[in-house]
Symmetry: C2
Subunit: 360 residues, 2 copies
Amino acid sequence: MVSDERPLTLADIARLAGVGAATASRALNEAAGVAPATRRRIQEIARAHGYVISPAAASLAAGVTRRVGLVVPHLSRWFQATTTEAIHSVLAAAGLDVLMYLVGRADERRAFFDRLPARRNVDALVVVGVPVGKAEQLRLESVGVHVVAAGGQSVAFPHVSIDDRATGRLAVRHLVNLGHRRIATIEAEDPDQVVQPRDRSRAYDDVLAEAGVAVDPRLRVVIDWGGEQAAAAMAGLLAGPVRPTAVYAHSDEVALGAIRTIRRAGLRVPDDVSVVGIDDAPPAALADLTTVRQPVWEQGIRAGRMVVDLLRTGVLADTSVILPTELVVRRTTAPPRDSADAPRRRGTRRRRGHRGRSPT
Amino acid sequence: MVSDERPLTLADIARLAGVGAATASRALNEAAGVAPATRRRIQEIARAHGYVISPAAASLAAGVTRRVGLVVPHLSRWFQATTTEAIHSVLAAAGLDVLMYLVGRADERRAFFDRLPARRNVDALVVVGVPVGKAEQLRLESVGVHVVAAGGQSVAFPHVSIDDRATGRLAVRHLVNLGHRRIATIEAEDPDQVVQPRDRSRAYDDVLAEAGVAVDPRLRVVIDWGGEQAAAAMAGLLAGPVRPTAVYAHSDEVALGAIRTIRRAGLRVPDDVSVVGIDDAPPAALADLTTVRQPVWEQGIRAGRMVVDLLRTGVLADTSVILPTELVVRRTTAPPRDSADAPRRRGTRRRRGHRGRSPT
DNA sequence: CTGTTAGCGCCTTCAT
DNA sequence: ATGAAGGCGCTAACAG
């Protein structure tokens, strides 16, 4: 078994190549000031002997870690998982290692910023969907780690995200355009306060006001993020005094939960109730859900690039990147059946395909 | 404001506390041999000054990284994301940092094992759902990093997983017990070869054989993993010469895709076609899908503990942990409908439907 | 219990 | 273009 030999050091390689350690170091790091032939020879020897640099030593000597911390609440959430993958792909391509910090619970987040494990452990931090307060920001800055935010609204840092208000408007506007007036809204609040759905809620008020529809508080329900909670909320809505002809959900997950309840109640989607979500996560397509798509992968890519740029140059051209969203019409929305709610036309059932943008 | 001051070192803290560096080191590392009062004082000073140890220096001196590498194909897959979260929670609690290596594509995996970027970067590796061949195993061992596998069938390493064959049997047996005989199977193969569905396929043959039902190759279809592919496959099945009364899908994702197609075709689930999946991922509950639940979080926890034990003691009590799965009956499976009252589009050979009893 | 002394493996001026 | 030497910050023997 080979396992217990002392790993080769730079000095070993240098000796093998008949050069000094400094030259070996320069050669292996693609640093300037080495004769091409020498460099090749050294690299060849290193490769042949399976030499691997000691990150610890390099890090200690050079003062950089070549590591980036990824701070994210939950990987089980599609948005965060996808963003994380995208960020990782960019960082990995740039030769940076990714340290993962999962901070879903508030106490985990506090502990993270308290202990600042990232302090000397990473060169930069990417926070995905985590609220970073002013205090944390200062703390981070004073410690000299760069920070980039993705998918949140941490205006304090360079960030990339979508416009939540415009996104919500797309969804509600679609329902209004179909002729709906009794539109319920299921607002998902993150129990861990990670996501502030404020803007998605405002969008509802905006569009209803523009359409001259009074907001009926009985049609607004706030839940903890999650399909099950949404299902329960929908049950309440169906049992309530005002039955909605359409539902605006803050996410696909919520929308899907609502749909399950509607179907279980013997009602049909979209014939009896239309439902629209936000995200266009994979289950949305499988459930034929009308939703507003946000470019999740792209957000991660952009955030990753920001970090790489920051690490390379120390500065950033674009400090705020807002990506566009688009309505994806599938088969969970249709005009309301009851003509009292549909001034324009009676509900006709659509059979096939029909993907694409909505009548704005 | 933002300080460019040199970060405090252990020596600074030692001086501040009026002790030697060694004592300070011992105090901060909870190592034995420090007077309680002294220790408290040192810790207090360190905290007050916001001292943070330099991982690089500690690592270089001690020869361990206190980092664990997590090798996983995709975070966007529910199984892998959940397992990853679970593993992370255990490792974080043990004070270990987690380095993430995403190797979804075959070339990424090859590159990983070729270059072994983890080589001197981590103390151990957890591989989640990645096939590790004999060659890779030797490579890893020769480098002296511990390896634990989760959710795969890498018998070469300490591992935790489920029994895929038994799991598949649960699903198919359920359909058979309901009285189904024309059972289609949609087998999902990972295009990246990460998952080998062999055992889930065998389960189908097993149970059908036991039930005395001949396997009809026209009812077996193999696809690339994914809901969309499953939807297409289901369309093929419905258009085929033998219409199944039930479908056994290799995963929930596949099952959901199939259901969409069935519904779009104007058929009903489970009245016209029953569908069963595997996993019990969150969308399963939302879609009321009958499925076989596997304890994903638990698998991650167990794998994480294995690593921690390995790092602490160097050995492992249990080197192979197989966790149980269970059938979850929801509303996508039911006995086959009597052919007499089944409206058909094309004539099919009718077989006497054997009324099923209630599911187990 | 505590201090002193050596490195850990590499990068980086400085010479040459 | 290359080599020599110092030090990055910490831990692990040893002494005391």
